[in-house]
């Protein structure tokens, strides 16, 4: 059941990205170009998503199980450290270079875009490099850091 709801959530997520214009890199770059001819549409995408999301997270509150009876896996980290800031900085630079973030990258892959394929392969390579660096860092430690 959890796999079916995950598939459904991914599907709705992807349809939302396409409808919103978020899967169109030129539109994302037009949003990021605040000193040029600025297209503010994507601010409304974030606004709409957060408006609905806030209700859901308020409903979830401090439940220990989901409505399917699964354990809740919400992030517990509180520290604002160098990893968070520098990682987000690198992500933002990459996002500004191509106008593509991870969700839209997978939608572009599904749409059969050759640019999307190149981006996704490079992104997976980047994630793989992270894993290798993390594993070599955590040698001798009992547990790896958990990710959101």
């Amino acid at each position: 059941m959890a796999n079916i709801t995950a598939l459904l959530a991914g599907l709705i997520f992807g349809l939302g990205l396409i409808l919103a214009g978020m899967a169109n890199p030129a539109k994302v770059l037009a949003f990021l170009d605040i000193t040029g001819a600025w297209d503010p549409s994507l601010a409304l995408v974030m606004g709409g998503a957060i408006a609905v999301g806030s209700i859901a997270f308020a409903v979830v509150g401090r439940r220990s199980r989901s409505y399917l009876g699964l354990p809740m896996h919400l992030p517990t980290a509180r520290v604002i450290d160098k990893r968070l800031v520098l990682g987000s900085l690198a992500f933002g630079i990459g996002w500004g270079m191509a106008g593509i973030c991870p969700g839209p990258a997978l939608v572009l892959l599904g749409a059969g875009s050759s640019e999307g394929i190149v981006f996704v392969v490079a992104m997976l390579l980047g994630m793989g490099i992270f894993e290798i660096l993390e594993r070599s860092r955590s040698v001798g430690r009992p547990k790896m850091g958990r990710h959101v």
Partner: protein
């Protein structure tokens, strides 16, 4: 600041955004998890954790979305003017950056902001700021 009204699409942006919000809501209410794409994909590299099923299902849904869309409607244009070398470099930075930063536009920008997580608010401000500066430099300083 000059708003490009001819390309401003408030209604589809708002509706699409709400669709993304509904997906994130379903996922946390039913699966008890954050709909953060970089975390879901990045977790695929940790086979030993034994939670591959729902990750693969979520990614399959995302990849299948344009195919489902096409059954009912023509896909909108996805315009990419970035060259392959730059795309590869960008993809690499997005992959490494989102993993070190523990999230991307969905995990931090949508879910984290909805939960008012201080970490996510900082992350979102940093990647949005970096995105603005990068586009400014590429288009208005180094570009033509």
């Amino acid at each position: 600041m000059l708003i490009d009204w001819s390309h401003f699409t408030p209604w589809s942006a708002l509706a699409g955004g709400m669709g993304i919000g509904i997906a994130a809501a379903l996922f946390v209410l039913l699966n008890g998890r954050i709909a953060g794409i970089s975390g879901i994909v990045g977790g695929l590299f940790r086979v030993q954790t034994g939670d591959m099923g729902w990750r693969i299902a979520f990614v399959a849904g995302l990849v299948a979305a344009p195919l489902l869309w096409q059954l009912f409607h023509r896909l909108p244009t996805f315009q990419i003017d970035t060259g392959y070398g730059m795309l590869a470099l960008a993809g690499l930075m997005v992959g490494i950056g989102t993993r070190y930063g523990s999230g991307c536009t969905s995990g931090h920008g949508v879910c984290g902001m909805s939960r008012l997580s201080p970490r996510s608010i900082v992350a979102t401000l940093v990647f949005m700021g970096a995105g603005f500066v990068t586009v400014y430099l590429i288009r208005h300083v180094f570009g033509g």
